[in-house]
């Protein structure tokens, strides 16, 4: 990654609530039109990362670091500037579409607000554009449905409305926070297809936050795995899923049932996510890690390149590197996959 000028770059983004740090210096780049999946257990900081970048956390949250959108730091930006960015440059959709939409306002009004704010539309133009957006996200009979309220839609349709609302400002980046978690499995696939197709049509970048590896692998070019408020591994999704490097990523993938091949026992990761008020010394995953030794309880491992285009935060990185180098020699692959 690390292209010349990313659309958005997070630098050392940290968040604390009441003195308890829940996000520990997240670094992340997203290029124009790129797709990044952010995975991890609940409480790992996936959502907080983006809520912090967009200034959507409650006032008591302390945020450090920078979130650079085309070089402009959003953390230091004024409220007014943030209002222009939110919905205009970066849109966000949420987990439970039914409660994310205002129950007492019509769909037309809720989509219209974004159109008026970011596109300067008014009067009849709002209705026409809102109808076009509803058509785009696949709501049948859009004209009539514009005057409906959220409770008159199904969960999947509400998420389509949320997506239409997000697209209203023609954003450069859509952050989808667990967009399919609250939906039926059959609807999940439809929503993911929709996200994928509108992304292709509009050329916007997409961040897909999910605890579901399947959802992410299907939609995203790159994946970042978070654990206890840190990114522990990041890389192209094909390679990350085929050959996970971090013990936590390996654990996550090991816990997935294979679609083909022989049936095997699913492996769960023992233990639970550490309490952010009382983090273990050193690597936060060490107490649950099958490979941990005394090196793991020293310093917190920093995220470092392990191959071109891949990063990992684990003391085993050194071993990984030599392992990978050895394999690269065996398979005569190009130098691209060899660690720098």
């Amino acid at each position: 990654m690390a292209s010349a000028s990313p659309l958005i770059r997070l630098e050392g983004l940290s968040v604390s609530f009441d003195g308890v740090r829940v996000l520990h210096g997240v670094d992340l780049d997203i290029g124009r039109g790129g797709t990044l999946g952010l995975v991890g257990e609940s409480g790992s900081g996936k959502s907080v990362t983006w809520l912090a970048a967009l200034g959507l956390l409650p006032g008591k949250a302390r945020i450090e670091g920078r979130a650079l959108l085309d070089g402009e730091d959003l953390i230091a930006a004024s409220d007014r500037r943030l209002d222009a960015v939110r919905g205009g440059r970066i849109a966000m959709i949420f987990q439970d579409p039914a409660s994310a939409l205002n129950p007492v306002l019509t769909i037309r009004r809720q989509i219209g607000e974004a159109l008026a704010l970011h596109r300067g539309l008014s009067g009849r133009a709002v209705g026409a554009e809102a109808k076009r957006l509803l058509d785009l996200v696949g709501i049948p009979d859009a004209e009539r449905r514009l005057s409906a309220y959220p409770h008159e839609f199904s969960g999947g349709q509400n998420q389509r409305v949320m997506i239409a609302m997000a697209l209203a400002g023609q954003p450069d980046l859509l952050v989808a926070d667990e967009p399919t978690t609250a939906l039926d499995v059959t609807i999940q696939a439809q929503i993911l297809d929709l996200l994928d197709s509108v992304r292709r049509e509009t050329g916007m970048a997409l961040v897909l936050i999910s605890h579901d590896l399947g959802v992410v692998s299907q939609t995203c070019d790159r994946v970042a795995v978070m654990y206890a408020g840190r990114i522990v591994e990041e890389g192209p999704s094909s390679r990350l899923f085929a050959d996970p490097a971090h013990p936590y990523t390996r654990g996550l993938i090991g816990a997935l049932p294979p679609l083909d091949g022989s049936r095997r026992r699913l492996v769960s990761i023992a233990g639970t996510v550490p309490d952010p008020r009382d983090p273990p010394p050193g690597c936060a995953f060490a107490p649950r890690c099958l490979h941990s030794d005394r090196r793991c309880t020293g310093d917190v491992p920093q995220i470092e390149p392990i191959e071109a285009d891949r990063r990992m935060a684990c003391v085993l990185a050194v071993h990984r590197r030599s392992e990978i180098a050895a394999r690269a020699g065996r398979e005569h692959t190009t130098a691209e996959t060899v660690a720098p």
């Binding site: 205009g88 939409l101 306002l105 704010l117 209203a168």
Partner: protein, 311 residues
């Protein structure tokens, strides 16, 4: 929709019937109007004649059937003291009461709702704690205590305002403030908690995420939702417009419906008491119906439920 409202109307009538029946029975069981009005020294034959002329010698259920039948003919009975129709006695007191309760209601709304919103937007700060401390003080002090304290300060000590009577609008100030303070305190607390509930909802975050300035998100997204529970309390206050001033009218010797009720009860002037209670039950029930109707207007989910013939 029709089923929704006919069910509501049926419940309303049931409520009025229960109130009227209860009052009827209790008033007649608790004391003998003939003895109270004529005095214990009155000769037995006078008392018997009085009882006969008012139908008090009949069994209670006969009296009740007569009473209900009269209501359906539009007759609410006559005062046992001066023989005038009870409804007339009550009706001439209503303007005086409304002259207190309507401005007091306006005061409750004008102070209580903004204070509640203000506190909710500054949750946990000094502003919030001050407003809520004032609110707790406001509704824990009974109105007769507050009324007397105000009289002590503004009439006795400062001499600015009269302590009782009904001659000019200045006489109305202290009773209105006395009633307004308690109601404003209740409304402030309800509005605050309704707002806090709404502010924590995911759709408020959606509003911010789409770039709506915070002040507009509050106005367009939070207030319409917080209005729903607040309307319930305001509706309850509207229901007490007629009879909500009993204590304050007594403290400030204000000749309204409340004082008429106190006098009529102690005299066992049955028709007048029943007439007032019927009126009170009817206003309460009517304001509840209005609240139900407003719900349908404020909350599209309920309107849909009503159209579908739901609860």
């Amino acid at each position: 929709m029709l089923r929704f409202f006919s069910l509501r109307v049926f419940r309303a009538l049931l409520t009025v019937t229960l109130v009227v029946t209860f009052a009827f029975v209790v008033l007649r069981m608790s004391a003998d109007p003939a003895l109270i009005i004529l005095g214990p020294e009155a000769p037995p034959e006078v008392i018997a004649a009085f009882r006969k002329s008012w139908g008090l010698d009949e069994p209670i259920w006969v009296q009740y059937v007569d009473y209900v039948a009269a209501i359906f003919r539009g007759e609410l009975g006559r005062s046992m003291r001066d023989g005038r129709p009870a409804i007339e006695l009550v009706a001439e007191r209503i303007p005086a009461t409304l002259a207190l309760t309507l401005p007091a209601l306006a005061l409750k709304i004008a102070i209580g709702i903004p204070a509640g919103i203000w506190a909710s937007l500054h949750r946990g700060t000094f502003v919030d704690r001050t407003v809520m401390a004032a609110a707790v003080a406001g509704f824990t002090v009974p109105s007769f205590v507050l009324g007397l304290v105000l009289v002590l300060i503004f009439s006795v000590q400062l001499g600015w305002l009269p302590s009782g009577g009904q001659d000019t609008w200045i006489h109305a100030i202290l009773p209105i403030v006395t009633m307004g303070v308690g109601g404003a305190a209740v409304l402030a607390r309800f509005t605050r908690s309704a707002m806090l509930e709404v502010l924590g909802q995911p759709y408020m975050r959606t509003a911010s995420a789409k770039g709506l300035p915070w002040a507009r998100a509050i106005r367009d997204h939070a207030l319409p939702n917080a209005a729903i529970p607040t309307v319930t309390i305001v509706g309850f206050m509207v229901g007490t417009l007629i009879a909500g001033a009993v204590v304050v009218e007594s403290v400030f010797s204000w000749p309204g419906v409340g004082r008429l009720l106190v006098v009529a009860v102690s005299n066992r002037d049955l028709a007048v008491v029943q007439c007032i209670l019927l009126l009170v039950a009817a206003t309460m029930v009517l304001s509840n119906l209005m609240v139900d109707f407003l719900y349908g207007f404020l909350d599209p989910r309920l309107a849909a439920g009503a159209r579908a013939g739901g609860h």
